[in-house]
Symmetry: C2
Subunit: 394 residues, 2 copies
C-alpha cells in the first residue's frame, strides 16, 4: 500500500497523446511512473521521478497499460477438444456444440464453476489482463444464469448477461416460449447482477428481430447493450448494434462495406476475436478495412470452450499482426484502450494522470515483443488497482 | 531420487505401439507409470501400478513424452523486433538480418550469453521440452564459434556447429577465404565441442556445393551432418541431405515432388519449423504431402532472434494443426518421437520400458489441449532423467 515509483522503464506506453512522443500511444523512453494503490500520480523521465513509499527498478523493461479483455465466456464446465479436432479435420463450425457446454455447466457444482473460472482468470491476470468482461450464457435457466453471473461477479464488475446465447434443447420446439422466459423472469433475476445484456445474433442462433427484443428489454431493466454479430454469416446485426448504440459489436468476421461505414460513423466499437478464427479455421475479419475507415477496433480473447479456448491477449495480438495486418502498435492499442472503449470505460486502458494504475511490466525492452515472441508469456508482472478490492477477489 | 510412481493418468501417450491401444501413440487411459531417476520401469493400468519410493497423483491429467526440440539457435545476444515489425508491414525475409545478431553476439560477454541462453532454456523446459538441440552460428570466428558451443554444451548434449550460417561481413569479398577458415581452423577448434555439423544452404547463404564441402569436412572431423534447406527457395539441398544421409533436413518450406520422393525413401527426417513461417509470413511447408508420402516429419521451434523467436513447442503444434493440416496426434508425435529421430536418438521421444524417463504432465485431460488451447502453457510439470546430470545444468 502507499505509493510506488517504477524507474528505468525502457519504453512506457501510456495511450495518452498528451504525454511523451504525443503519438496515439503517448510513448516515453527511459521513463518513470508513480502510482498509489488506486491511480496514476505521475509520469515522466526516469531520472526526474519523485520518491515514493516503494520502488521498482524496471531495468530497461517495457511497461504497457494492463490489457482490457472485453469479451470472455470463462464461466463454464467441461471441455470440447474432440470438436476442435473434428473442425481441424474439416468439420465446419456452426455453434452447435454450445449445447454440450450448457449440459456440462448445468451439471457442475457451483464450487467447480468458481474453481474453473478462477483458473482462467489467473491465466488472464498472469498474461497482463487487468480488466476482463465475463458473460453468462451456459445454463440458460433462470437460476442457472443467475448462478453464472454470481461467479462472474466474483472476479469482475464487467458482467454480461447472455441468456440469449442459444435456444436450449428443452425449448427446441418453443422458441417463442424461450424468448418469453428470457425477457421476463430470467431478465428479472439477472438484471441486478449484471451491467450488460448481450445476444448471439447470427445464423443458427437469434435473429436481428429477436436480438432487438432482448436488448430493448435488457435496457429497460438497466442493462446496457452489446452484441455478438456476423461470426458465421452476414446479417443485419451490425445495423442493429449501431441503431441501439451498443458499446461493442463482437466478432465481425463477415462485414459488408455498408457495415464498415455504419461502424465508422458510430460510437460502437468493433471487437475482433481472432482466437476464434484461429480455432475454427475461419477467415479473419477485415481489421484493415475497419481501421482505414476510422472505426474503433478492440481485440479480446473470446475465451470459451468451443470456439476459442484462449487466455492470452499476447497471442491475440500476435494473430492480429500476423493474420489481420494490424501493426503491433495498433494491436496493442486495441487490446488496451480499444477494450476499454468497448466497455465504455475512460478510467482504464491508458496511463494518464488519474487513470487506474493498471499496468503490465514486460520481460522485454519493447512492447513489440508481444508479437515478436509469439506463443509465450512475456509478462513479468501485472499491477492492478486495489479500488473496489479487485485484487482481493481471486 | 529413487523410484516414482505416477497414478491416475487420464491419458498416457507412450509413442510405443506395443503398449496400450497399440496405435502409433501407444495410448493408455487411467494409466500408471513407474520410473527411476533414469528410465521408465513400468507402464500399465493405474490400479495395477506397483509401489515406489515416491508417488504422484495425476488426478486425471494427460502425460506425454517430453518434447524433443531438435532445432534451436538459442545462444545469441540482442533482439530484432524492429525487423519483425518491418516484415509484418510487408518487407520480405531474406535472412539478411543475421549479421545484426552476429555483431551483437560478438560484442556480448560470455556471462551474458550464458544468462540469455539460460532464460530461453528455462522457457523451453517449463513448456515440456526435455531435450533440445542448440546450434552455434552467431559469431563466425574460430574463438567465437567455440564460445557459443561451450554455452550450448552447458545445457545440452545435442550441440551443433553452424560455422557456415552466413558469410560474415569481414569476408564479404572473400567467400573462399571464409570457407577455408570454416573447414580448417574453425572446424578443428569446434569439432571436439559438437556432435553435429550444419549449414544454412539456401538463396543468399551457402550453395549446395559449398554445403557439401563443409559437411564432408565436418564428417571427417567426427561431426554427423544435418542441413538447413529450402527455407527461402527451391534448391538442390534436399538431394544433398539425402545423399549425405543427414539425420535431418530443416525448414522444407519449398518442396518439389521429387524432394518429397527422395525424403520418403530415406532415413533423413524432414524437420518443419512453422514458427518461422508464422514470424516471416511465409507459406507453410506441405506437411500433408510429406506425411502422405511416408516421410518422417519432426516439428521444432527454430528459436532464434530473427525469424522465429519461439520457445513453445505447444505453439508449434498449434500452428502445425491450424496451418499445416496435421492432426493433433500427428503433431504430438512429430514434436516428440519425430524430434528424437531427427537427432537419431532411440532413448527419447517415447515412454517404452527402458527409455529415458522424460515426460510432461499436462494441466488437461487430453494431449489434444496442446492445440485446443493455443497461446498458453498447459504443461504442469516437466520431468527429466537425471542421467549425465542433465537437470543439474540449468
Amino acid at each position: 500500500m502507499g505509493t510506488l515509483v517504477v524507474t528505468n522503464i525502457g519504453e512506457l506506453t501510456t495511450n495518452d497523446p498528451s504525454l511523451g512522443d504525443e503519438s496515439r500511444w503517448g510513448r516515453l523512453f527511459h521513463a518513470g511512473l508513480v502510482v498509489d494503490e488506486d491511480e496514476v500520480l505521475w509520469v515522466g523521465a526516469s531520472d526526474e521521478a519523485p520518491d515514493a513509499d516503494d520502488a521498482l527498478d524496471a531495468e530497461g523493461r517495457a511497461v504497457i497499460p494492463g490489457f482490457v479483455d472485453s469479451h470472455t465466456h470463462l464461466v463454464f464446465a467441461g471441455e470440447r477438444s474432440d470438436e476442435f479436432e473434428a473442425r481441424m479435420a474439416g468439420v465446419h463450425y456452426d455453434g452447435g456444440g454450445i449445447t454440450r457446454t450448457v449440459q456440462a455447466t448445468r451439471a457442475a457444482s457451483s464450487e467447480d464453476l468458481l474453481s474453473g473460472a478462477r483458473t482462467r482468470v489467473l491465466e488472464l491476470l498472469l498474461g497482463g489482463v487487468t480488466t476482463m468482461e465475463i458473460k453468462s450464457g451456459y445454463e440458460l435457466t433462470v437460476d442457472g444464469e443467475g448462478r453464472e453471473l454470481d461467479v462472474a461477479r466474483h472476479f469482475s464488475d464487467e458482467v454480461t448477461w447472455l441468456g440469449a446465447h442459444i435456444v436450449p434443447p428443452e425449448f427446441k420446439n418453443d422458441r417463442a416460449g424461450y424468448l418469453h422466459l428470457v425477457t421476463t423472469s430470467m431478465l428479472e433475476a439477472c438484471a441486478p447482477k449484471a451491467k450488460w445484456a448481450d445476444v448471439f445474433c447470427d445464423r443458427g442462433a437469434f435473429s436481428v428481430d429477436e436480438a432487438r427484443t432482448v436488448l430493448e428489454a435488457g435496457r429497460a431493466a438497466g442493462l446496457a447493450p452489446r452484441l455478438h454479430a456476423n461470426q458465421l454469416a452476414h446479417s443485419g446485426a451490425i445495423e442493429l448494434a449501431v441503431e441501439l448504440d451498443c458499446a461493442s459489436v463482437d466478432h465481425c468476421t463477415y462485414l459488408e462495406d455498408s457495415d464498415i461505414d455504419l461502424l465508422s460513423a458510430s460510437a460502437t466499437v468493433a471487437t475482433l476475436l481472432p482466437g476464434a478464427e484461429f480455432c475454427t479455421r475461419s477467415p479473419y475479419p477485415s481489421a484493415r478495412r475497419l481501421l482505414d475507415a476510422g472505426a474503433t477496433v478492440a481485440l479480446a480473447t473470446d475465451c470459451n470452450p468451443g470456439s476459442s479456448y484462449v487466455t492470452s491477449m499476447a497471442f491475440v495480438i500476435a494473430l492480429a499482426v500476423r493474420e489481420m495486418a494490424m501493426s503491433v502498435d495498433e494491436a496493442l492499442w486495441s487490446a488496451t484502450r480499444g477494450g476499454a472503449l468497448a466497455l465504455r470505460r475512460d478510467d482504464i486502458g491508458h496511463l494518464s494522470l488519474g487513470a487506474r494504475c493498471d499496468f503490465a511490466v514486460l520481460d522485454a525492452p519493447r512492447a513489440a515483443h508481444l508479437a515478436y515472441r509469439p506463443g509465450g508469456n512475456i509478462v513479468a508482472k501485472t499491477h492492478r488497482s486495489t479500488r473496489e478490492g479487485a485484487t482481493d477477489r481471486i
